[in-house]
Every structure is written in structure tokens, then in C-alpha cells.
Symmetry: C2
DNA sequence: CTGTTAGCGCCTTCAA
DNA sequence: TTGAAGGCGCTAACAG
């Protein structure tokens, strides 16, 4: 299918017997122009259905007014909330966004970066894939002075602005809550250990335990690659052990829900036998049975903040030295952890 | 923040004392070029960290290799699945995507259309907002011969290709299933009546009833604007009536779940007192209690199909007369409707 | 095999 | 108040 012809300033100019520059000036409402000429041109443009060509402008001014976004996956509620915040913010400030998903693949992430840079995006918002363990591609981006910031899945290795939630504190809130409920043998179900959030949330987990005088014990840490299969396997392993925990803090809600399913299958009562808490506050968590206690992350706000900050940097409203924004998480108490009321 | 300087072919040419066209040819591996020259140029480009400027190419060839996507909202699982399918497909075929969300607003949808057209997207994939009841903006797009197709939320008014699921048949499957379970007084909970899917799903509902010799009765149709508030209100109204239904078919899962919550609050047993079925198969539906019987829509596949078809049209692999793709839905039987086994 | 020229659509001097 | 010229980065047609 061939795209229909788009009217250009040149054509308007020819029809009216004026120069292209005059048309250009009229269309951007320049004051140094005879009102009549302006009127004639604007009317002609409207009647010819003229549509401004942003591409040409971008080339001209070396600014595309496009932001690139790379996320691990589009279908997760958290990331789509981020994107929603980014999109709304960018739109309000006159920018479009181009989106890529790395599908949690390092190679894909590098490829995405390349096409977005090629497309001359003015800046990038990046959330790293699970596989990303080396950062040369980001370093190169940095060296080439292409503005970008990271959100949620970040690395400390590159000195750019970052937007995250307070993972450690969120985990602390969750585990502290479990402790308040009387649990003392609390397991931590972790994602891959090299993931930033796995580490941070473990910090909070350990801090809460320490505060209650419980010796740090790695023996209650279970690691999964977050596939349903392995989540199930790890949970079964835990159940097979002699000294079962009385509570589980799972690094993210989907993991918590996988754990919940396995526990229920095995006749374990939640929260009576084992209390459970997650992290993220996915919509699903509110409706599972029992409803899942979790930590709420402000996904939409993160997206807004990240986009606003990047645009502030681009527009030099704000100096471009790296800042770290840490958003607050909140505890959402639900039934999966209410020992006191349900026991 | 100023974007770092990007190396251009011109600079490479100057460094090497050749012409820009030679550089251009070398970089696209043209055969009519001395291997040595080519080698020198490619090496120089690499060492200077040259990055191709897609924007300039777009302007030159009048093709941006960008697809525009407009969806009502980004955070719904169904639409993010669509987008995921679109993105993966576009990427594979060398296209980027620009995404806008209309936030269910007609004005926003028109504005989105405008900026995407301005950005010179090669084609558009559109899913209409709930508010969209007039179609001049699409007609204009059509008249201007900008290739686009619609998916999921479509209108028959514009002769372009459409990708939808078989809504009527899906509804038929759900209601037929409820009938098989022995229910005879089946209510239909509908969204706004001017919505395409509201109508189509009602058709399937009525067809199933008819097949069982149940007189069409509008009295069991309940209409909501799909806000939680009104969903609740309508459900309460239904409960207040004398002749309660023994089953409910809700137009979409979130509505079904709102209904489920209200029923449970009122001590109604599901499915024993009232069976329940939804439509969409959101991830949430699998984990609610009782798990929700629903109709599965292939969101990712819809996105893939839509993107592939549009690109086929653009690349003239396929003639550009409008086609209608109707994807199959499947019944997902879960506990909210299993009268036979649970009664 | 390589260089020159022209132009994609737009805007910004500079000149008139 | 308006026009002409030049250029953003790249490519394609035409020379040589």
C-alpha cells in the first residue's frame, strides 16, 4: 500500500505564488508578516489539509522530540504502569515515545538500544533485563553523551540519574510486619542473586530480623530464577525440610502467588501455618484467596518522575549531574499475613 | 543537557579524503566499490563510533519505518499483550513503534492521531476509545491514504482491515456453558450499549438462550459504565429484585470480579447460588476465589497478526483491500461455574 | 570504482 | 514584509 501524498509547504507556496519561507513563517505565526498574507496561507494550508512534517523539523533542529523506552517486558503490570506514566508525561511536554521490550534478554537490550539511538531519540529511559550483568553498552551510551536515566532495574555502575523504590525499606516493612504478627522463622524467597532488587530486598529482610535479635541465617534464603517451574520446585524443597518457616517473604508478587498455590495444594493453611507477604502490589494480589499482604510500588508515579526528570535535564531546567530518586513504598496489609485475627 | 555530537558520514569522508557518497556506499556494503576503500571506511566508521541516522534516511526515502499505535490504556493486560505482539513483530521486520494511549478519551484519541501522523509514521494500528462514537478523524485518515488498521475496538464505518475476536461466538460459548450446567435464568452484565463488544457479546448471549428455547428477555440485561462504583450498584439492584438469576455472564473479567466481590459480600455462594462467567481471561481470573470461568482472547497473537498484516500491506505483499480477521476464543472452565461438581 | 549534483521538508540567516 | 540561499544527514542518478 502506498502512502498517500502529503502536502508540503512548497506546494502551498506554489499555489499562492509566494516563497516557501513565507509559508513557513505564516504557519508558525511569525509577527513579521503581513496579516493578509498570513491569512491567505493559513486558509490554503487548512483547505489543502496540510500536515506539519515533524521528521523534517527533527533533522533540521537535530532534536527528534522522541524519548526511547526500554523495558524487560510490556505485559507486566508494573512496567506497563511505568510506561503509562512516561507516556502521559512525555505527551504533555510535547514528546512522543518509542518503546522496545528486551524480553529479559541482554542481546535484545543491546539491539534495542542501537535502533533507538539510530532513530535519534533525544533521551532514553531504561529498565535493565534480568540477564544484564555487564554494562559496556550503557557506558558507551554515557560516553557518547546521549542523555538517559534508569528506572526500577538499575545499576550503580553508571553515573546517571536513577528512579527506584526503596527496596530495602519496603522489604523491611514486609518482614517487620511478619515479625509483629509473631512469626520468627521467616524465609526469604529471592530471585536471581545478581539482580539489584534481590540484593536490596534481602538487605531489608536481614535488617528487620536483626532488629528483632534474630541471628542472620542464610539457611532460610531460597533462590529461584522466577520461572513457575522453579518457584514450585523451591517451595517443595522448603516443605520437605524439617524445620519449616512460619512465614515467607517473597521478592515479588507473582512468586508469592506461585508459592501460595503450592502451599494450598499441600494443605498448608495461610496464614495459620505459614504467613505470606509479597512485593509489588499487582492487581492480582488483592483478589487471590487469601488476599496477599504486599508492598505497594508507585509504578505510574515512577514513570512520571523519570520522564519529568529526564525532560528537565534535556531542557536544562535542571543540572545534569546524576540524581537518585527513591520513592516510598507502603505496606498493604491483607489476609495472607494476619496471624492475630485469623489464628 | 546537550546531546553529544553524533559522527556523520561527512566527517568520515573528510578524515579519509573521500566523498560522502563513497562513505555511504561503503557503509551499506555496495559491491561497486574497491574492497580496500570499503575496508578503510568501515574501520574508520567503527573507530569513530559512527551511528547511522535513521531520521535522515526517513526524510530521504519518505518512509520512517515507524508504526504508530493507539490504545485506550496501556495498563490493561489485554492491551499490553496486544502491544507486546505488535512490538515483537514490528521489531523483527525492522520497524519501531510509537505508542500513545487515549485514556478512553475521544479528544485525546484525535490528538494522538495528529501527532503520530505528524511524526510520519508509515502506518497505524488503532483500538478505539470508549468515547469514540463519530469517525470523521478516521475517515480523514482514510481519505488521506494513510495506511491503518483497527484491532479489538473497531468500527464497521470505515473500510479498513480489522482484527477482532469472535465476540458473539465467545459469548455464546460462555452462556451455552452456563446452560449446560443447568442454569436457566442467566443475566447479562453489559458495558455501555454503544460499545461494539457490548452489542456483539449480547448477540451471542441471546443466541445461546434461543437455542435452549429460552425467550429473549431484556429484563435480565444489566448495563453499567464499567466503573467499580456502578458495577457494584447494578449488582445490588439485581440482588434486590424478586426473581434472581441463577447465573451471570459478565461482559469482561474485571466486571465479573466486581460482581463476584459484591455477591460474596452478600453471602451468595458461587457457583451454587449464582454461577458466574466472564470474558477476556485476565491473569487475575485464574487466581480469584472461586476461580473465574471465562473466555480466553489471544491478545499477543492479535497484536502479531495485526502488525504483520499492516506490514504486509505496506510492503505490498498483500493487496490493500480491507480484510476482517476474526480470531477464535476458547472457553476456560473454572470453578465459578461448575454447578455439577460443586453442588 | 569514485565524485558531483540534486533533493527529501523545513528553518534561519542575510539581503532586498 | 518577503525572497533567495544554504544546510540538517543521507541517497540516488548521472558522470567520468
Amino acid at each position: 500500500m502506498k502512502k498517500g501524498h502529503q502536502v508540503t509547504m512548497k506546494e502551498i507556496a506554489k499555489k499562492l505564488g509566494v516563497s516557501v519561507s513565507t509559508v513557513s513563517r505564516a504557519l508558525k505565526d511569525s509577527p513579521e508578516l503581513h496579516p493578509d498574507t498570513k491569512k491567505r496561507i493559513v486558509e490554503m494550508a487548512t483547505s489543502m489539509n496540510y500536515q506539519y512534517n515533524l521528521l523534517a523539523q527533527s533533522l533540521r533542529i537535530s532534536r527528534s522530540k522522541v524519548l526511547g523506552v526500554i523495558v524487560p517486558e510490556l505485559t507486566s503490570h508494573f512496567f506497563s504502569s511505568n510506561i503509562s506514566g512516561i507516556q502521559d508525561t512525555a505527551y504533555k511536554r510535547g514528546y512522543n515515545i518509542m518503546i522496545c521490550q528486551s524480553n529479559e534478554s541482554f542481546e535484545q537490550e543491546k539491539a534495542n538500544l542501537k535502533t533507538l539511538v539510530s532513530s535519534q531519540v533525544d533521551g532514553l529511559l531504561i529498565s535493565l533485563s534480568r540477564e544484564t550483568k555487564s554494562y559496556e553498552h550503557l557506558q558507551e551510551l554515557y560516553d557518547r553523551e546521549i542523555p538517559f536515566i534508569m528506572f526500577d532495574r538499575v545499576t550503580e555502575e553508571i553515573p546517571v540519574s536513577k528512579v527506584t523504590v526503596d527496596d530495602a525499606h519496603g522489604a523491611y516493612l514486609a518482614v517487620n510486619h511478619l515479625l509483629q504478627q509473631g512469626c520468627r522463622k521467616i524465609a526469604y524467597f529471592s530471585g536471581p542473586t545478581d539482580l539489584y532488587i534481590s540484593k536490596k530486598r534481602k538487605e531489608g529482610y536481614l535488617e528487620a530480623l536483626q532488629e528483632f535479635g534474630i541471628p542472620e541465617t542464610e539457611s532460610r534464603v531460597y533462590v529461584t530464577d522466577l520461572t513457575e517451574e522453579m518457584n514450585r520446585k523451591v517451595t517443595m524443597e522448603m516443605l520437605a525440610e524439617g524445620d519449616r518457616p512460619d512465614a515467607i517473604f517473597a521478592m515479588i508478587d507473582p512468586l508469592a502467588i506461585d508459592v501460595m498455590i503450592v502451599l494450598k495444594e499441600n494443605g498448608i493453611k495461610i496464614p495459620q501455618d505459614i504467613a505470606l507477604a509479597g512485593f509489588t502490589n499487582n492487581p492480582t494480589s488483592a483478589v487471590v484467596e487469601p488476599s496477599l499482604t504486599t508492598i505497594s510500588q508507585p509504578g505510574y508515579e515512577m514513570g512520571q518522575l523519570a520522564a519529568n526528570h529526564l525532560l528537565d535535564q534535556l531542557d536544562e531546567i535542571v543540572p545534569d549531574d546524576p540524581q537518585s530518586f527513591i520513592l516510598l513504598t507502603t505496606l498493604v496489609e491483607r489476609n495472607s499475613s494476619q496471624k492475630s485475627t485469623t489464628a
